[in-house]
């Protein structure tokens, strides 16, 4: 099985790619000008910031970045394309021949190019409605080699890519769009325009199933373009796209060539490498660490600055507690206080977190509890009264007596006991 991807990433610029309209606006046709509506006489002017971001991405994906880059006109007719050509890249893209490592495998990156988005088009009964706000929004297209060989690799690749983009300041959670190329045989099937990670994986799943079925039945798989239907959970054959012959690419003569060497790319962050390194060095769970830092700059920064100074386990515990109970953004100084509490044996519940956030002093002595002791007391009470588990299934209050019993032994906050009880019931007794 071979899967290749063309991922379209919207760039977080203030203005569009070739004009100075707001890049993102909601009311239809409010962020428009002669350039992005393709009025006769208007000319494009490249947004430098978009070029810089595309260099950041190319660099992060280990691409070769040539001295210069330039743009072409790709001509095709569709009502959402105001000039009937898209300004995109062809022979001189921003980046090419790159790689991205996932697990223990390398996925090739064929090319990375900068291009403009067409307008948004709504289909009505027998006409269309067009909103040019989207027209000219900057997109980076990342084209991979067909090196992905399973759904799982697809998921890991996309998560890794999204995390790299996130750390470059390109947050693409919802609007990541991609074309999928899937071939289980000699014929390549292209699935166009899938939006969002979940749909992408679903589309791949259904297309793989479809092709497997055809192979089993000894039917021919035709080389074609399909589209994914979220409602039908299947892929459907769609209109044939033009080929390069028809696009008739020419150099965009209203623009020039742009130097790439003068742009200093932003340092990329590869969270999976960090997670691997830290988990080995500090003996913590790699996937838990990866989950914490994949899309969270602040957590990563805190972990990096406290690593070695405090126990990694305590650092992660503090971060997770803040993520669970905290109302404001993570702050290094609160986390550090929390770590100190943890290292002194304190248990962080909602009250403690809230007090920390308000800058109140915590009286450590009152709060010091050894949760391990509480846990074993809870376990022993339940093990002695197995009926409690049966009762609990129908009546959640059945366990209240346990809290009372533990409270007699440890004079501490009943909520801590309640939380530990809940944790043990679900994780250890699976009720």
């Amino acid at each position: 099985m071979k899967i290749g991807l063309e991922v379209h990433v919207g760039l977080p610029t203030k203005t569009k790619l070739f004009c100075r309209c707001k890049a993102y606006a909601t009311e239809p046709n409010t962020a428009i000008c002669p350039i992005c509506t393709g009025l006769p006489g208007a000319k494009p002017m490249l947004n430098k910031k978009a070029l810089e971001l595309s260099v950041d991405i190319s660099n992060a994906l280990n691409c070769t970045i040539e001295k210069e880059t330039s743009f072409v006109r790709k001509v095709y007719f569709y009502p959402d394309l105001p000039k009937s050509f898209q300004i995109t890249q062809k022979d001189m893209p921003v980046g090419h021949s790159g790689t991205l490592k996932i697990n223990n495998k390398v996925i090739g990156i064929r090319r990375i190019q900068l291009e403009e988005d067409p307008a948004k088009i709504l289909r009505e009964d027998n006409y269309t409605l067009i909103d040019y706000n989207r027209s000219g929004q900057p997109l980076v297209e990342i084209v991979t080699e067909p090196d992905i060989t399973s759904e799982d690799e697809l998921r890991v690749f996309m998560n890794e890519l999204k995390s790299i983009l996130y750390y470059l300041g390109v947050d693409v959670d919802q609007d990541i769009k991609a074309d999928l190329n899937i071939s289980l045989s000699d014929s390549r099937v292209e699935i166009k325009n899938v939006t969002g990670l979940k749909n992408l994986i679903d589309a791949a799943k259904y297309e793989i199933q479809r092709q497997e079925k055809l192979i089993k039945e000894k039917q021919k798989i035709s080389q074609e373009t399909r589209s994914y239907s979220e409602a039908k959970l299947s892929t459907i054959s769609s209109r044939e796209k033009e080929s390069d012959e028809e696009y008739g690419f020419i150099f965009e003569p209203d623009l020039t060539t742009y130097s790439l060497q003068s742009i200093k790319p932003k340092e990329p962050v590869y969270v999976s490498e960090i997670a691997k390194e830290y988990s080995k060095k500090y003996h913590v769970n790699e996937s838990q660490l990866l989950e914490i830092i994949s899309f969270d700059k602040t957590s990563l920064k805190i972990i990096q600055s406290f690593a070695g100074k405090y126990e990694m386990k305590s650092i992660l515990n503090a971060i997770l507690s803040f993520k669970r109970y905290g109302k404001s953004e993570l702050k290094e100084k609160f986390i550090e206080k929390a770590i100190k509490l943890i290292e002194k044996g304190s248990y962080l519940d909602g009250e403690v977190i809230s007090a920390l956030e308000k800058g109140k002093e915590i009286n450590i002595n009152n709060n010091v509890v050894n949760t391990d002791e509480i846990d074993s007391e809870i376990r022993s009470i339940i093990n002695k009264n197995k009926q409690l588990l049966e009762d609990y299934k129908t009546n959640k209050k059945a366990m209240n007596s346990v809290i009372g019993m533990v409270l007699k032994k440890f004079k501490t906050n009943p909520r801590i006991i309640s939380e530990r009880l809940e944790y043990i019931l679900s994780n250890e007794f699976k009720v």
Binding site: P40, G41, K43, L46, F77, P82, S84, T128, G248, I250
Partner: protein, 450 residues
């Protein structure tokens, strides 16, 4: 003195502009110089006309194409705002042209422009109306545009001075594209002073056009005129005779005359038309019948059919260039045509730059005498393209050039063309100024005389 100063110093009768407007409208019915003439109430300063492929805010702009009928630009072209910014000028109207600039004689416009010296002759194209307007109005400057000779040719046929600057020296923002790497906005006037005066207003810096380059123009004159054998050899004998008299005159003015052979220059026509058509075929893709200009009312038609129906509003020459332009950039033949043409352009720029470092190239503007309308019909499109041999080389290579009247033959003006190296624009304007010391331009009409 430029005519703007002269005009400003003279007293004007109270109804001067109303009368001017009336006379112009009347004559325009015969000559078709203007697609739009402004309301007379809006004309109260020195009158400027603008080729109809340049956008003026709130004034219908069609590039003489049916497919742009009723298009009202919501913005001014950069040249228009630069002129507006001076507060000294009125926009008299939009001038007729070959549709989208596709033509050498002006006949590819629905309302055919006519030569003011004799209406059975063509005016030349594609900036036909600008040349006619300049030829009939005593006080006037017109903003024209040249892709392959669209300023020189009509200037020569209508007996005015036509200046095409170095590619990139005037912003193209607001110019309806024919061929973006060839299009140059220039000026037509009745003398070289007006050209220099207007050039200083419209050239330079613009943050809306990437290809507009802010370079200081030079004025280097080594007093050498170069005649390229291949440019002279095919011209009409009567024209050749007159032209050699002009060369003699330059000799008398102290210019050294040099002859050079440059056989390679003949490749310019193919190189030019391939690039121009390839770019034009992408520029014309946007006209699909619903965003602006011509409206196809049958909105429920499927888009491909809808577009095809709408696009039948292009004229025949536009259709011809669309097909050819689409072909030459097709992936399978692109190297043979489009890329080859661009590389040939590189060679031509190099060869011609060498020659232009030695002096100014002088030639007639057209190898034929001004044709009559009934003669034009006998030309095949290729024959028409080939008549551009004298104007295409500087246009293809972006060299500044200027056309100026040098003789009147049987009542019709003859024009010659001087070419110089990139950014030496002022030099050729000055040479024409020098020429004007010994030669008096004649005009048949002088509307608005004071």
């Amino acid at each position: 003195m430029n005519s703007y100063e002269e005009f400003s110093k003279k007293d004007k009768p109270t109804d001067y502009f109303i009368k001017l407007s009336e006379e112009l409208s009347k004559l325009n019915e015969e000559l078709n110089a203007f697609n739009v003439i402004s309301e007379s109430s809006k004309i109260n300063k020195f009158p400027i006309s603008v080729k109809d492929n340049l956008c003026i805010k709130d004034m219908e702009t069609t590039a003489s194409s049916k497919i742009l009928k009723s298009y009202i630009p919501p913005f001014d072209a950069t040249v228009v705002s630069k002129i507006r910014g001076k507060n000294n000028f009125s926009f008299l109207g939009k001038t007729n042209m070959d549709e989208f600039g596709f033509g050498s004689f002006g006949v590819n416009s629905e309302k055919c422009p006519k030569n003011p010296f004799n209406t059975s002759y063509v005016s030349g194209g594609s900036s036909s109306g600008s040349a006619i307007a300049t030829s009939i109005l005593k006080y006037h400057i017109s903003i024209a545009e040249s892709t392959g000779g669209s300023i020189s040719t009509p200037s020569a046929f209508c007996g005015v001075v036509g200046f095409t600057p170095t590619y990139g020296s005037v912003s193209r923002y607001g110019l309806i594209d024919y061929s973006n790497s060839l299009d140059k906005i220039g000026i037509m006037a009745r003398n070289s002073n007006d050209i220099r005066f207007m050039y200083d207003i419209i050239k330079g810096k613009d943050s809306y056009d990437t290809t507009c380059v802010d370079v200081k123009c030079n004025n280097e004159n080594n007093k050498t005129i170069i005649l390229i054998d291949e440019l002279i050899k095919g011209i009409n004998p009567e024209i050749e005779k007159s032209f050699l008299e002009l060369v003699d005159n330059f000799s008398k003015m102290g210019y050294k005359i040099k002859h050079k052979s440059l056989p390679f220059i003949e490749k310019a026509i193919a190189s030019y038309y391939i690039i121009a058509m390839a770019e034009a075929s992408t520029n014309l893709a946007k006209y699909t019948g619903f965003k602006y200009g011509f409206k196809n009312e049958n909105i429920s038609e499927k888009y491909n059919e809808f577009f095809t129906t709408s696009r039948s509003n292009f004229g025949k020459e536009a259709k011809r260039r669309l097909v050819l332009g689409t072909f030459v950039r097709s992936a399978s033949v692109k190297d043979m045509y489009y890329s080859k043409a661009l590389k040939t352009r590189t060679l031509l720029i190099n060869e011609l730059s060498k020659v232009l470092n030695e002096g100014f190239i002088l030639s007639p503007v057209m190898p034929i005498k001004t044709p009559k309308f009934d003669e034009i019909n006998k030309f095949s499109p290729l024959e028409v393209y080939k008549t551009d041999i004298l104007t295409i080389p500087p246009n293809l290579c972006g060299f500044p050039h200027i056309a100026f009247p040098y003789k009147y033959l049987n009542g019709m003006p003859l024009g010659a063309q001087l070419i110089t190296k990139h950014w030496n624009d002022y030099a050729i304007i000055d040479i024409v100024f020098e020429w004007e010391n010994n030669f008096k331009y004649n005009f048949k009409y002088n509307l608005g005389s004071l």
